[in-house]
C-alpha cells in the first residue's frame, strides 16, 4: 500500500499537457485504489481552466496561484512543493525538460528516493516500488526496485503510459496558495529572461497525423523537394532526423527524436532514415510505420510495419506520382 500519490501537472496556455492524464495511469500502476492529487501551479484564468480540465481525472486538485508563476521556474516550484507535500508522499512528474530541472533536486530536498524516467510501473510490495526503466538510449531495459518508505519522486517518460481520462468522483479544487506562500515567494539564484522559439516553427509536427520524415538518405538539400511533394500528396507534414538538422537543411522544430520533438502520428514514413534509438525515441503511439531505405540492414526495418528496400531519390517521386494519379482518377 503506497502513501498519498501526487502528480505535478505541466500546462501551457490554459491546456494541460498529455502527461497530466498519463500520470493518472502511472499512479494506478502504483496502486489501483490510490487517491491521486494533482498539483497545478500558475496564475489567473489559464490556471483555473487547467484545474477544471483535470478535475474529473483526479480526486483532488491543489492549485497554487501567483502572478510570478505564469512561467514556471523549477527552482521556485521545487521550494513550493517542499512546503506543501506531506512527509512520505509519492510525487509523479513528467520526465520532460521541466521535470529534469525540477525532480532530482526535489528528491534531495524531500529526502526521498528518486526514480527517474520510468516507462512502466508494476505495483508496490512492502514499500518496494517495482518499475521498468530504459538504458543506453532504449537499447536495453531494466527492472528496478525503489525503496519508497521515505517517500519518492518518480518521473515518467512522456508517452510511456496510456492516458486515462476516466471520470473520478471528487475532483475538488483546493487552493493551496496561502500555505505555499505563507513564508513568502521563494528567492532563487536564477531569473527567467525569455524563450527563444526554434526558428520557423511553422508546423507543429507533434500534432501531425501523417509525417513524412527524411534522414541522411536525402543526400542533398535540393532533393528535399521530393519529400515535400510526397507530404503534399499524402496530406501530411515533413519531419526529419538529426543529421538533416545538423546539416541545417531543415529547422530544428521538424526534428523527431529524443533531442527534438516527440511525435504521435497515425502514419510515419521514414525515408532514408537508418533509425537510431535516439530517433525512434521520438516516435510514440505506435504509428503505422513505413521505412524506405537502400540499406536492407538499416535498424529502422525492425521498428517499421512495412519496409521497402529502395533509393528514396528514385522511389519517392514515383510514389508521389501514383498517389496523385489515383487521387485525380477518384475525383473525376
Amino acid at each position: 500500500m503506497a502513501g498519498q500519490v501526487f502528480a505535478y501537472i505541466v500546462h501551457k496556455e490554459g491546456v494541460a499537457d498529455d502527461t497530466a492524464f498519463e500520470m493518472v495511469a502511472a499512479a494506478k500502476r502504483i496502486d489501483p485504489d490510490a487517491a491521486i492529487t494533482a498539483i497545478v501551479a500558475g496564475t489567473g484564468i489559464d490556471l483555473n481552466v487547467v484545474c477544471n480540465e483535470i478535475a474529473s481525472s483526479y480526486q483532488e486538485v491543489w492549485k497554487i496561484d501567483n502572478e510570478a508563476l505564469s512561467y514556471p521556474d523549477a527552482e521556485v516550484i521545487r521550494t513550493l512543493l517542499v512546503r506543501i507535500l506531506p512527509e512520505g508522499g509519492l510525487i509523479i512528474i513528467p520526465h520532460d525538460t521541466f521535470g529534469m530541472d525540477l525532480a532530482p533536486g526535489l528528491s534531495i530536498k524531500l529526502d526521498a528516493a528518486y526514480l527517474p524516467d520510468a516507462v512502466d510501473i508494476d505495483g508496490v510490495d512492502d514499500n518496494r516500488l517495482k518499475a521498468v526503466r530504459q538504458e543506453y538510449s532504449g537499447q536495453v531495459s531494466t527492472h528496478v526496485v525503489c525503496d519508497i518508505s521515505g517517500g519518492a519522486v518518480i518521473t515518467v517518460q512522456p508517452g510511456a503510459f496510456k492516458a486515462e481520462k476516466t471520470k473520478w468522483p471528487g475532483g475538488q479544487v483546493v487552493d493551496k496558495t496561502a500555505q505555499a506562500l505563507e513564508v513568502g515567494f521563494p528567492a532563487t539564484g536564477r531569473r527567467f529572461i525569455e524563450v527563444i522559439e526554434a526558428e520557423v516553427g511553422d508546423v507543429d509536427i507533434t500534432k501531425s497525423e501523417i509525417l513524412v520524415s527524411v534522414g541522411r538518405g536525402i543526400e542533398d538539400e535540393d532533393n528535399l523537394e521530393i519529400v515535400y511533394d510526397l507530404a503534399r500528396a499524402m496530406g501530411g507534414d515533413v519531419a526529419c532526423s538529426r543529421p538533416v538538422v545538423d546539416a541545417k537543411w531543415l529547422e530544428k522544430s521538424r526534428q523527431v527524436g529524443t533531442s527534438g520533438k516527440t511525435v504521435k502520428p497515425k502514419v510515419y514514413m521514414a525515408l532514408g532514415i537508418s533509425g537510431s534509438f535516439q530517433h525512434q525515441g521520438g516516435i510514440k503511439g505506435a504509428p503505422f510505420m513505413v521505412a524506405i531505405n537502400k540499406n536492407p540492414k538499416a535498424p529502422i526495418f525492425q521498428a517499421a510495419d512495412v519496409g521497402v528496400v529502395a533509393d528514396i531519390l528514385d522511389f519517392v517521386p514515383e510514389l508521389t506520382n501514383k498517389i496523385n494519379g489515383s487521387r485525380s482518377r477518384l475525383e473525376t
Binding site: 528518486y114 527492472h143 525503489c146 526554434a198 514514413m269 498517389i323
Partner: protein, 263 residues
Amino acid sequence: MEILVCIKTAPDTSENEININRDGTDIERDDLVYSVNEWDNYAVEEAIRIRDRVGGSVTVVTVGDEEAEEVVRREMAMGADKGVLLSDEVFNSSDGRGIASIIKAEIQKGKYDLILTGAQADDGAGQVGGMLAAMLNRPYASLVTCLEVIDDKKIKVGREIEGGNLEMIEINLPCVLSIQTGINEPRYVGIRGIRRTASVEIPVYGAEDLGLSSESVGESGSKVKRLDYFVPDPGEGAEMLEGSADEIIEKLIELLKAREGIK
C-alpha cells in the same frame, strides 16, 4: 573562474552494440570500448572554452576504477588542468544520490564557481547534477546548450526545452549546470595529447579521505536498485514489400489508404 566538471566512463555506443549477458545480470562488457560519456565531453569542452576566455582552471572529477582514470587523462589531454579520481570499493553499486554524495564531499574540499555535468549518461537518468545543486544549495539549470559569462557573479545560459526552443535564464555563481550535446564541437584529442598526460599523477581519494561513511554510499546507501537487464520484445520487423517498383507502389498505396495515411 574555477570550474569543476563531473565525468563518467561509459561504453561508446557509436562503436558498440549493447547486448545483455546470458543470465540478464549485466550487459555484455567483454568487448565494449569505453570512453568518456558523450554529454560529459561537451561539458569539459565548454569548461575549457570558458577558462580560455576568462581565466581560471578546469578540474575533472569522476567516481570509478582504473578504467575511469584513463578517461580522466583523456579529458586532461583535451585541456583540463587537473584530474581527481574518487575510488573505493564501498562506492560500488551507488545509486544517483550516492554518486552525488561522493562528488559533493570532494567539491566541499575546494572552491568552485561553476560545476558542470553532462545532461545524462548511459543510464539515461540525468540526476547527479540536480542532486548536487540541491545538496550544495546552489542554483541549477539543466540541458544547457549555450552559455555566456556576464561577470564573476552571474552567467547567462540557454536551456534546450521542448521542440528545440531555448529558455534563456540568468543564473548566479556559484551554480551547477547540466550540459546538453550540441553546445559546442568538442575538440579532437590526438595521440600526442594522450601521451603528454599519460604519466601525470592523478590523486585518488576513497571514502575515508572524503569523510564518508560506508552506509551512506554504495549498495547499502541506495534506495534504487537495478534487478536485471532485459530486451523488450523487438517484434517481428517490417513486412518487406517485394516485386517490381510498380507492384510495390501499388501495394504500399493500398496499405497507406487502409491506415488513413493518404488524406
